[in-house]
């Protein structure tokens, strides 16, 4: 069989799946976003075209801008803390001469194993004002007198939701940084030790530059995913209190699936989110693809 035919048949199942599940729906969502689509229209199958009206309504909605702002704040906090923590913890578990480091290393993938929705619920329990586990720990340790309202206080709610998200996604970043650390040649460290450099110097001038690429990759990937955060919001705050934790994905979900079920407008808002993430994906492509020689 000719090479090109072979390649085609081998890829057929993949192409079908991707087409059915990704390509077509993305196109269809774009189609929906420029039509007026409510429940009755969806059932009848006739959608009147209404141009940019859905997008206009979304961009005019103050709640959308609040959601966008919250999403950006959330993303910034989670991604930056993830990177800092990942580097620090990767260095920590790299210390194989310390036995507690080996314990940590064994446990490091545990957060990755927890389903996001279950994680959200567990943290909802931790954060509960009256019954919460976190407050109980702090009481028992004598650190506080009165219960703290972690997720119910509009000033702290958004920050409170970042913690379970970082907890869950940190292992991924740690693994990557740790793998990258293994790739740094020992000679560099030994040379600088001979030159009399201290630990901080070694870190800042050798380790960190060598980690630049992996940090960039983590930055881009995690930013794209953090933009679409949903499960934690659903489980812990449902957007509240007030609008403190309304994020972009939650906005699309509510517009589409809560009455009066404006599928067109929901598709439009989801599309705006997808386009923003798409821009990040393009950055990723140019950055990684340049270096990838596959």
């Amino acid at each position: 069989m000719r090479a090109s035919h072979f390649a085609f048949f081998m890829n057929l199942p993949t192409l079908l799946c991707l087409g059915l599940v990704l390509a077509y729906p993305i196109g269809y969502a774009a189609y929906l976003s420029v039509h007026r689509v409510g429940l009755a229209q969806l059932r009848r199958g006739e959608f009147p075209f209404n141009g940019w009206e859905n997008y206009g309504r979304v961009l005019e909605d103050p709640l959308f801008w609040v959601a966008l702002k919250n999403t950006l704040v959330f993303t910034f906090i989670t991604v930056s803390s993830e990177i800092v923590l990942a580097v620090l913890i990767a260095l920590l578990i790299n210390q194989s001469s310390i036995w507690t480091s080996r314990v940590t290393r064994f446990l490091i993938l545990l957060p990755y194993a927890i389903p996001p929705i279950a994680n959200g619920l567990i943290w909802a329990f931790l954060y509960s004002f009256q019954f919460g586990f976190l407050n109980r720990i702090l009481f028992t340790a004598g650190l506080i007198d009165n219960p703290i309202n972690w997720a119910g206080n509009p000033d702290t709610a958004l920050y409170a939701v970042t913690v379970p998200y970082v907890w869950r996604t940190l292992p991924f970043a740690i693994i990557l940084v740790h793998a990258a650390l293994q790739g740094i040649p020992r000679e560099l460290y030994e040379q600088s030790a001979i030159d009399g450099a201290n630990a901080w110097h070694r870190f800042w001038h050798i380790t960190l530059p060598m980690l630049r690429q992996i940090i960039a990759i983590i930055l881009i990937l995690r930013t794209a995913f953090a933009f679409a955060v949903f499960e934690e919001i659903l489980a812990i705050t449902q957007g509240g209190p007030g609008d403190a934790t309304w994020v972009a994905a939650w906005y699309s979900y509510k517009i589409t699936f809560a009455p009066p079920n404006n599928f067109g407008m929901g598709s439009a808002s989801a599309y705006i989110l997808a386009l923003m993430i798409g821009a990040i994906a393009l950055v990723y492509m140019r950055f990684v693809y340049r270096r990838v020689t596959l």
Partner: protein, 295 residues
């Protein structure tokens, strides 16, 4: 490495303990939450460990609501979905296994062509997969629903399996393609000279050599599928087709919420993947690293 001073060692131990505490915090919470009754939770809101332990939460779930135990005896409004735990568990298992199998199958076929045959369009496929990874599920939900409906695959496991396979294929391809690329071509070339077909060479030579990558990829796909919420949530409305995350999510909005019951079911839901991760850590680490570094 130079030896460290005792202070440094101590600091590192402390740092490790802090990290271990952070990692174990939710696990401790879910465990302690699931072995007490709601009443015990409310009776003393400052105690760390409950006054009385009970396994009733688990009994209720595992006996499909038949045996209510002491704490739920009078309760009339036990969430109905609790009773379908076994069904949800098996649904999750069926979906995850099928998705893993299909993704590995289709993914390895594609990854092979991408690695070995450098046509313009296979490279384009690779790029498309890289970008496809970024698509948020939220934008796909309505169209996906309509597509599945016209195929008659709503309220069936088949629809969820197809959807998740499509969604996860990019991940698989991005882990497998670079790995295939590292396998030297001489062995296949030798086999082809001996009269083996391309496909034959692929199956008998490349696949066995790629077992570590397949294992790594498989475990990761399984875990992601087990955890998936939005796709089964939208596609399956009936309790007999719900997966575990959907059942858990349905408890969130439940007006009659029982924290302890929720913790119990969360514990049961996370057990399989935790065990999997504990046993197959090595593979997961390799898979994650491979999938990201090379894009």
């Amino acid at each position: 490495m130079r030896t460290k001073s005792p202070t440094t060692r101590l600091l590192l131990h402390v740092a490790n303990l802090a990290v271990i505490f952070f990692i174990l915090l939710p696990v401790a919470a879910v465990f302690i939450g699931s072995i007490q009754s709601e009443k015990a939770l409310q009776a003393d809101t400052r105690r760390l460990l409950p006054l009385e332990f009970t396994l009733d939460n688990f009994t209720v779930i595992l006996s499909k609501g038949e045996q209510k135990g002491r704490i739920f005896e009078q309760v009339t409004y036990l969430p109905d979905n609790i009773k379908s735990f076994y069904a949800a568990f098996s649904n999750s298992a069926i979906v995850a296994v099928s998705v893993t199998f299909l993704t590995l199958l289709f993914g390895s076929l594609s990854a092979y062509t991408i690695a070995r045959q450098r046509f313009r369009w296979t490279l384009f496929l690779l790029q498309a997969n890289i970008v496809a990874r970024f698509v948020p599920v939220i934008v796909l939900m309505i169209p996906l629903y309509v597509v599945m409906r016209s195929l008659g695959q709503l309220n069936s496991l088949g629809g969820v399996i197809i959807a998740e396979t499509g969604f996860l294929l990019p991940y698989a391809i991005l882990i497998l393609a670079p790995y295939f690329d590292t396998i030297p071509t001489e062995l296949e070339e030798a086999a082809r000279i001996d009269g083996c077909t391309r496909l034959g060479a692929f199956v008998s030579i490349v696949l066995p050599l790629a077992t570590p990558a397949l294992a790594a990829c498989g475990v990761i796909i399984f875990i992601i599928s087990w955890h998936e919420l939005l796709i089964p949530l939208i596609l399956n409305a009936r309790p007999d087709f719900m997966t575990l995350p959907v059942v858990i999510a349905s408890l969130v909005g439940d007006v009659h919420v029982f924290f302890n019951l929720m913790m119990a079911i969360c514990l049961l839901a996370l057990a399989p993947t935790v065990i999997l991760v504990a046993l197959l850590q090595k593979y997961i680490v390799e898979g994650l690293a491979a999938g990201a570094v090379k894009g």
